[in-house]
């Protein structure tokens, strides 16, 4: 058998020397450099950024190790951009700048790296952010699984915006921008060890349009994107952080039939599966209709299936544990009540 001649990442691509510069010039710059991004081109050691007057700075970071790196609906690059953009967006920030750091395994096909980088550039363009600084390290063959990416992001928050769990009140409405679980299910199935295939694509997308659509809508209390642990985990964070109970109506949940069918086969609940393009929002009761109208009108259909899925109430306190705790309850379609608990164990590893 002849050895394929495919160009691959070498240890030298990470040593800061000639090969590193070749990689920057031939792969990163062609995709990340653009006329609207004057900061990157001189390749300074640090990007120097000017905050707009009167805005506050939001800063976040996330690492991406998803396996497999390519899955229906995206790849690790798409995820690395949208994941950080979404963390900024749901904090009320206008995403502006990203850093990108790659950890590559020796032998990783250059063509795949280029595909990842191209996806990152497209996702950044769609989200309206600029990639202004970066880094590449290469580790020996076997010391990593192909490609890992870290991104950090900076965004600008209006002076008068104050979202947070301390703003949540009993009676507030819980909204979800679309059906849950497509990302987690798409990645799980693309691992190929479950014995069946499906057309399910990751919901991976920038949620900034959903946030932007709510500009000027009064009564927004809190937003979060339900990634690892899914919608159920975010709602439990709401209960813990606000000291209030959350009630979810099963019949009101938006549903993707393909995700539901696959979830039933695998014995998992879509409410615990990761989303990468959804928003959970909590708003005052009289704002809910405006939020739903605004979400459903977002171009591209990102909020087409948005729904009010429940409400917040004064806590009846779970009678267990060192101190009584607020909780999340689910009212089933049949009218029964059960807990929608924090998932314990059995987490799917490397989903993002």
């Amino acid at each position: 058998m002849t050895r394929e001649e495919e160009p691959r990442i070498l240890l030298g691509h990470g040593d800061g020397g000639r090969l590193t510069h070749d990689l920057i010039r031939s792969v990163f710059l062609p995709h990340f450099d653009n006329p609207a991004n004057p900061v990157l081109r001189p390749l300074p050691d640090a990007a120097v950024l000017a905050p707009p007057a009167g805005w506050r700075l939001a800063f976040t970071t996330d690492s991406f190790v998803v396996s497999p790196a390519f899955f229906p609906g995206g790849n690790i690059g798409t995820l690395a951009v949208t994941g950080t953009v979404n963390d900024l967006a749901v904090s009320g920030a206008r995403p502006a700048y990203l850093s990108v750091a790659f950890i590559l395994e020796e032998g990783y096909p250059l063509r795949q790296l280029e595909a990842v980088v191209e996806s990152m550039a497209l996702a950044a363009r769609d989200a309206g952010v600029q990639i202004v600084t970066g880094d590449t390290k290469v580790v020996e063959h076997g010391a990593a699984d192909g490609i890992y990416i870290n991104t950090a992001g900076i965004g600008w928050v209006p002076e008068d915006l104050h979202w947070g769990l301390d703003a949540v009140r009993p009676g507030d409405v819980v909204l979800l921008s679309g059906s849950p679980g497509a990302h987690g299910m798409a990645v799980l199935l693309s691992r190929g060890d479950l014995g069946f295939q499906s057309p399910i694509r990751s919901d991976c997308a920038s949620v900034f349009p959903l946030v932007q659509a709510l500009q000027g809508v009064p009564g927004i209390r809190f937003m979060r994107d339900p990634t690892r642990g899914g919608v159920a985990t975010v709602l439990n964070e709401v209960a813990q952080g606000s000291g209030l109970d959350v009630w979810v109506e099963e019949a009101a949940l938006p549903e993707d039939p393909a995700v539901s069918a696959a979830a039933r086969l695998l014995g998992v609940d879509p409410l615990y599966l990761a989303c990468e393009g959804r928003v959970v929002a909590i708003c005052a009761p009289d704002a809910a209709a405006a939020v739903l109208d605004a979400w459903r009108a977002v171009p591209g259909g990102l909020g087409r299936d948005a729904a009010a899925i429940g409400h917040v109430s004064a806590s009846r306190r779970l009678p267990l544990g060192p101190r009584p705790e607020p909780a999340v309850y689910l009212r089933t379609a049949l009218g029964g009540t059960r807990l929608l608990d924090v998932k314990s164990g059995g987490e799917l590893p490397r989903i993002c």
Binding site: D193, L318, P319, L320, A333, L334, G336
Partner: protein, 412 residues
């Protein structure tokens, strides 16, 4: 190439988790009409004139009942209690210790199902912790994956820790056939397979409040409805074989309650789309060709005769207990069989009530450790360990029903 003795697609539903076997079946039904389910529920509640105690044998039923919040909807005089039908929960600590010991050997790759890696052995360690400390431990979805692992790692000894009831044993048999056909010599297994019928019989030979049984759908696809006839014939208990959807469980309960109300004892098949009268003879044959009934120790229940599946002598080359010194199974105590000798877990002292819970004598809410000293993060007893255990199901879905504590959260 010789045709394999048993195709994966011959396996019953549930034998291959998420497998192709299920895809062709009538399982991807559209949503159930809520009016129909409401009507069924109302009819069940209207038919109850006195208290009844019903045991669901299978852990998957326990989970489904919690997930559908059935206990919050049914007449409180209907007590649904969980049986010994969670394979992880009933795995004895000494058996788990054997697996842990094997996993620590550098040449061994131990393959098993997801929930098993979190069960604590007697020293408090788990397969998950051993993996973090450098042991080769891999979670698999099907026994065939273990054979593939052995083929892919010829320098390692792949040991499959096989747990499960009648449903999973045929898949293990298939894996043995494949390993033999492919002449894979670095594959062996610890068979902790158990049989549900002897366990239910053992429960009924003791004093029990259980009046009727919801019989396991998956297990019955293999053993058949008729395998449960002893319930009516020998113990005068009605039973219904049921599937796992709301639209399976509600009609099954309706029939069961109707029989209990009338003092009737029959064994009814309410899961006819998957369960046949005689079961799946091919799967039964595959099990019989590879395994034989042996005495087995059940966590919480003790030794029960003929309740385990040991490898037959002609398959001993694939028996990890035979291949690895010190890995042989436990021997039953003299004369101890069927005496219900309870093997309790360390740590919880005498207060862990898993034995009572697995016998249907208590519910998790009756245990003083539940939710405080015993949680899924830090389990004291086997029923809290597996996601299909009764305590784990109650903790996950119903711990707000615990009476008489802070906030008076009894009634929702």
């Amino acid at each position: 190439m010789n045709p394999p003795a048993l195709q994966a697609t011959d396996l019953p539903e549930g034998a291959r988790s998420g497998g192709a076997a299920r895809a062709g079946q009538d399982i991807l039904r559209p949503g159930v009409d809520p009016q129909l389910t409401s009507a069924l529920l109302a009819r069940i509640n209207a038919s109850v004139s006195r208290p009844h105690c019903i045991m669901e044998v299978c852990g998957t039923h326990t989970m489904a009942i919690g997930q559908f919040a059935l206990r919050s909807l049914l007449d409180p005089r209907l007590r649904l209690i969980s049986g010994p039908g969670c394979p992880v929960c009933v795995t004895d600590q000494a058996d788990l210790d054997r697996a842990l010991q094997l996993a620590r050997q550098p040449e061994v790759l131990l393959a098993t199902y997801g929930d098993m890696v979190r069960v604590p052995g007697s020293g408090g360690t788990t397969l998950e912790k051993e993996r973090a400390a450098g042991a080769h431990v891999t979670v698999i979805y099907s026994p065939l994956d273990a054979v593939d692992l052995a083929a892919a790692h010829p320098t390692l000894e792949v040991v499959f820790l096989a747990v499960g009831f009648e449903t999973t044993a045929p898949a293990t048999a298939l894996a043995l056939d494949r390993a033999k056909e492919r002449r894979i010599r670095n594959f062996s297994l610890i068979s902790l397979h158990k049989l549900t019928v002897p366990a239910v019989k053992a429960l009924l030979r003791e004093e029990t409040t259980v009046e009727g049984f919801l019989c396991p759908g998956h297990v019955s696809t293999v053993i058949g409805r008729a395998a449960w006839d002893f319930l009516a014939r020998d113990f005068h208990r009605p039973a219904v074989v049921a599937g796992f959807e709301l639209i399976d469980i509600l009609p099954a309960l309706q029939q069961l309650v109707a029989m209990l109300e009338q003092g009737e004892a029959r064994v009814v098949n309410a899961y006819t789309r998957a369960v046949r009268e005689e079961g799946n003879p091919r799967a039964q044959q595959a099990v019989a060709e590879h395994f034989e009934p042996v005495p087995a120790v059940w966590r919480g229940l003790g030794w029960i005769p003929d309740s385990g599946l040991g490898l037959r002598a002609e398959w001993k080359d694939f028996d990890a207990g035979y291949r690895f010194p010190g890995a042989a199974g436990q021997e039953p105590p003299d004369g101890g069989l069927g005496q219900g000798q309870v093997v309790s877990l360390g740590g919880a002292g005498g207060r862990c009530r898993c034995g009572d819970i697995l016998r249907g004598k208590a519910t998790p809410l009756d245990c003083s450790l539940f939710g405080t000293y015993c949680t899924p993060q830090d389990p004291a007893g086997p029923c809290m360990v597996s996601s299909e255990g009764a305590c784990a199901a109650y903790y996950r879905y119903e711990r707000h029903r615990l009476p008489g504590q802070a906030g008076g959260a009894r009634k929702l």
